[in-house]
Every structure is written in C-alpha cells, then in structure tokens.
Subunit: 260 residues, 2 copies
Amino acid sequence: KARVVSIVNQKGGVGKTTTTINLGAALAESGRKVLLIDFDSQASMTTGLGIKPALLKEQSGSIWYLLNDPNANCADYILKSNVPGLDFIRGHKDLAAADAAFVSEIAKEHKLKKMLQPVMDLYDDILIDCSPSLGTLTVNALTASDGVLIPMECEYFAILGLSLVKETIEKVIQNTNSNLNVIGILATRFDKKTGHSRDVLKLIANQFPDEILDTIIARTVRFSESTVQGEPITTFASSSAGATAYRRLARELVSRGGVK
Amino acid sequence: KARVVSIVNQKGGVGKTTTTINLGAALAESGRKVLLIDFDSQASMTTGLGIKPALLKEQSGSIWYLLNDPNANCADYILKSNVPGLDFIRGHKDLAAADAAFVSEIAKEHKLKKMLQPVMDLYDDILIDCSPSLGTLTVNALTASDGVLIPMECEYFAILGLSLVKETIEKVIQNTNSNLNVIGILATRFDKKTGHSRDVLKLIANQFPDEILDTIIARTVRFSESTVQGEPITTFASSSAGATAYRRLARELVSRGGVK
Ligand SMILES: Nc1ncnc2c1ncn2[C@@H]1O[C@H](COP(=O)(O)OP(=O)(O)OP(=O)(O)O)[C@@H](O)[C@H]1O
Ligand SMILES: Nc1ncnc2c1ncn2[C@@H]1O[C@H](COP(=O)(O)OP(=O)(O)OP(=O)(O)O)[C@@H](O)[C@H]1O
Ligand SMILES: [Mg+2]
Ligand SMILES: [Mg+2]
C-alpha cells in the first residue's frame, strides 16, 4: 500500500512544485513506483513534467474532473512522465473553485482519499503538490496523507508562515486524520553567497530543532532551466548539484521512515 | 479622491508584498499620502512594516475584522508606519476563511470598496497586497481598484500564470468594475548573472509588449534584510539599488497615469 505525502506551505514560491517533481523523480530512479498529483490550479507540476501550456485547458482527466465525477476511476487517467516509474495526474485551473464548490458538501475533506483508493496498491509513494493556501484542497491532501513535507525558502517572510501550517496540520490530526505525521521542514533556495539564508536557517533550527531535515537544497539556475524543458533535474542535468540534493533527500526520507 | 491599485499574481513568491511595501514607501517619500492594505492571511506586509509576529494574533482592527463589522469605520484602525505619509491597515490569518465565509453573501465582491469609502479623500494612493490566489479577496481588491499591477518573477513557471491573472481581470471588468485598467507587468527578482531571467523577460516582452513596465527590479539580498528590520528598503538601505528601483517605479507609474 502506497505511502501518501503532501508537500505543503501556504507561503508562495518556496519550492513545493520543484520538490514534488524532483523528489518524485529521485524516488522513481531508486526503483520505487511513484505517483504525483498536481493539486494546484496553476498546474505548474503538470507543465514541469512536459505537458504543453496549450493542453492545460483540457478538462477531462484532470484531478479536478476526477474529484467531481464519483464514477470515474483515477486509474484510467494516470499519465506517464519521461522517467520510468514516475506517473502523474494532471492539475487544472478549475481547482481554484474548490473552496466555494465544496463548502456545504458532507465529508468534503475526504474526497481525495476516497478517489485514490483504486491506486493505493499500484504505487510505493504518492506525492501531492499543494497550492499556496490552507483551504479545502490542502485539507483534502493532508487528510489523505501519511506524512507532510514542508518546503521552506530560507527567507525571513517564509518563517512567519510555519506556525500557520502547523496549526492546520494539528487541526487535521485532531479532526480528519490522526495518522498524519510531519516528516520535516526542507530548507530550499538556500543562497550560499549571503548571510541571510544562514541566519534564517539558524532561526528555524532553533525554533524547530527536531523537524529541520539534514538535506538542504541550494539555489541553482539549473532548476529553472529544467522547468523550461519539462523534465525533472535528475534527467535534465543528472550530475548537477540540484539533482544530487534531491537524491540525497529521497534517501533521507526513506531512512527517516517518511516513506516506507 | 485616492487612486486604488491592487498588486496581484496568484503565482506565489513573485514579490507582491515587497512591491506593495516599497512602491508605497517610494510614493510617500515623493510627498504623496499613501495607504497600504494587507489583504493576505500570511500578513507578510504587516510584519514587513514592523509589527512583531506575536501581535499578529490580535483580531480587532485588522482588515478581516473591518470586513465583517459593517458598523466599523476603517478610518479608526489606520496604523502609521515609520515612513511619513505611509499608513496601513493590518492583515490577519482569518482572512483565509473568506472564500467559504462569503460564498452566498449578496454583492460579496463589493465589500472592500464599500469599506474604503470613508478614507478615499484622505489619500492620494491606496495599494492592496493580495494573497497568491484569484479567490473572493482578490476579486474584492480588483473590484475596488482603478488599476492593477502584476509583479512577475523572471522564472518560467511564473509566465504560465499570467494568462490566468488576465482572465480574472477580464471577468472583473465585465462584471463588477468596468473602470479597472492593467497598469502593467513588473519584472521582479531579476537575476543579472544567469541567462534564464533574460530569456524569460524576452518571452514576456513578446507575449505582452505593451504591458511590460520599463522598470525592472533586480535580485538583491537587501530586500530580505529589510524585512527582518520591519521597514521598507527606502529607509533601511536608502541609497541601495533596490531602493532606487522602486523610486524609479513610482515615477514611472505617475507618468503612465497608473497613479494620478
Ligand atoms: N533550489 C532552487 N534554486 C533555484 N530556483 C529554484 C529552486 N527551487 C525552486 N526554484 C524556482 O523558484 C520558483 C518557485 O519554485 P516553485 O514554483 O517550485 O515554488 P512553489 O512553492 O511551488 O510556488 P507556488 O506557491 O506558486 O506553488 C520556480 O520558478 C522554481 O523554478
Ligand atoms: N528583488 C528581490 N530581490 C531579492 N529578494 C526579493 C526580491 N523581491 C522579493 N524578494 C524576496 O523574495 C521572497 C518573496 O517575495 P514576497 O514575499 O514579496 O512575494 P509575494 O508574491 O508577496 O509572496 P506570496 O505569494 O507568498 O504572498 C521574500 O522573501 C522577499 O524578501
Ligand atoms: Mg507550486
Ligand atoms: Mg505576499
């Protein structure tokens, strides 16, 4: 049975999508079967895996379509990436309607968990890329998950949001998913050249000593370049520092029990 | 009567808050009276103007409190920043509840516009810092605005979101605010050292030739350092390239008619 991990932080631009794609690719490279879910209306993950922007408008087969059609079987809509063992389900801009659309639906928080049941035995890991929000979709992802990974840019503004994320995680644990466990905080976009990143990392290590992961993802333009090519950094620039960092993260998560 | 400008982009981390604070400070420095509104549940703008994180929990007096109390007069809750002529209204984490809370309220899109009426004659400019979403709050901001400024990080992922922002702006123009006008797209976090930022800038200039602003905000750690101090870069590092860039932007907006 697959372990499900949500990649969550309502602060924008901290590397959620970059982490979902590249951690997923690194886990697949090590022989695991991995499914990625694009749960953000921007559909950056879908584009980062090679789907051309013009095709993003296609409604049928996206995760939004699946959430709204109880008879659809998500196994029928899984797409293959260019990495063996790495599959994904597309995002769609209509995901933005979720908060208002589901507001009075019973057990609205459990919709994703129910939808994933048919594929739980087909994968080792399922990673969910969340939008920069703590609304209905993110609560759905956390309710469906065994673990949650919190990417955090090494910037002062990003620290402030950590307590908000933890509040939401605590509410999910108390109300809809008592098995949810925080895998850790991943320092991203770390700029070795300035003191600011180091200062922020020290502040976070003081506030959350047990939760900051050993792996740190340094800033490198190779990540941006790989998004233009529509592939993970592990295939686009396999021997780069960025690819190495996410392979290290994959090993750290396996050893920490974040993934089985 | 104040000109109201919304700072909008659902892509996260593109410099919306940084632009609101520093453009606001640059306009105030030139002698204008400026009011900033923190319309994001992360309340980064409020922290960036010096309010300590521990005080963010205070409900009364935030923009969320004002939106929910029709008898409150927003003029009574305006705070002064450390910059003469620059005032602001605090954000609050409960703003995150807006989509679900207002879902069936009549004329929900006009709540902010109504609330701002008492202060329209007290200011030259009102800037609204929006969250990374195109939901109810952002639609409220756009409905209350004369103009909209779209900060855009010079990264490939950020380009994809531009068409989504424009779609929402078009819907607002057709339904709730026919006076709304796009002031322009502001290139932010431009990294002079790599080709990726330049490539992205070329792509955007091709797709949106009339809308890309002349002013470009280059990447500099001085912005991050100023957030730690809780003040705009124009006072924290007055002669820095970052402060100069936002002063230039303020002049460009005045000359483009984005602000009177
Ligand atoms: N380690 C890194 N080094 C350099 N650039 C990075 C790194 N990680 C991410 N980026 C770039 O930073 C930008 C933000 O990253 P990304 O889109 O993954 O963040 P996000 O948290 O998913 O954003 P959003 O909140 O909008 O969903 C992207 O353009 C991405 O290419
Ligand atoms: N020109 C710049 N150079 C360097 N750092 C910058 C620049 N502009 C913004 N930053 C930093 O980048 C991060 C993202 O900027 P900011 O928080 O203003 O973006 P945002 O769009 O408001 O994010 P969100 O979508 O979470 O509201 C912040 O830590 C900020 O300090
Ligand atoms: Mg993302
Ligand atoms: Mg912001």
